[in-house]
Amino acid sequence: MSEQDDAYVTICIPATAGFMRVVREAIQQAAEDFGFSEDDGAQIVMAVDEASTNVVQHGKGEDPEHHLKLYLRVVFSKDRLIVELVDEAQRFSPARKQRTDRGRISGQRQDPRDRAVGHSYSGR
């Protein structure tokens, strides 16, 4: 099966604390469907939950009213399960933070389709 033929699922949710359960349940089901053991599935769920939580906690930058979306894409490839998290968070610039050490950090909004996290898990 070519990469083009891989099956995938994309979920779009608000990047808010209350929706992290949806992320975990989707990943848990995907890991189970792919054939991972329960233990391996639990570790994958935790990795994705922690990454998603970072978006919730830090993605709004200086604007708490900013409504972020989080895109979770799960690809069922031949020999691996690929998990991608794409968010609309403001870009973080360490150099800019250094320049504005005590001041407000104003980030540049990134392309909403920029990949925030992408990771694949191999094996069945």
Binding site: D5, D6, A7, Y8, V9, T10, I11, C12, I13, A17, G18, F19, M20, R21, V22, R24, E38, D39, G41, A42, Q43, V45, M46, D49, E50, T53, V56, Q57
Partner: protein, 132 residues
């Protein structure tokens, strides 16, 4: 195979169920904290608050030990585990975990915590150990 896109617009509500109770044997008492649901970014503050109360009961001498029952807990994130580790640091051998689901045991092993936590198969075993 074509992909599909699912947009979820509603928020499911089952979250953290947590309660504190005391078990007695004569004059001896232990505090049992029963946690169910999940500990994630939406519930970690509540979990931390309730754990702090349990820890304080022991530190203030109202209880001999704190037993954390995780029987009905489906998930705990790194912040929740940090709360447990901090309680363990404060209480040492006066903290016990009981009825820990396999998935959470695996996470604890992954993080190297399993050797540092006092884990019992059941709440009753833990209670008896402290009240004997």
């Amino acid at each position: 195979m074509a992909g599909s896109t699912i947009v979820l617009v509603s928020e499911q509500m089952k979250r953290l169920n947590i309660s504190l109770e005391q078990r007695k044997s004569g004059e001896a008492r232990v505090t049992v904290l029963l946690a169910g649901g999940f500990v994630d970014v939406s519930t970690e503050d509540e979990f931390s608050t309730r754990m702090d109360k349990g820890v304080q009961q022991v530190l203030e001498g109202h209880s001999a030990a704190l037993i954390l029952s995780l029987k009905d807990l489906s998930y705990i994130n790194s912040t929740g585990l940090a709360v447990v580790v901090d309680a363990n640091r404060q209480l040492a051998e006066r903290l016990a975990l009981a009825s820990v689901p396999d998935s959470i045991v695996q996470i604890a092993k992954l993080l190297g915590l399993d050797g540092h936590l006092n884990i019992f198969d059941t709440v009753d075993e833990a209670v008896n150990d402290f009240l004997e």
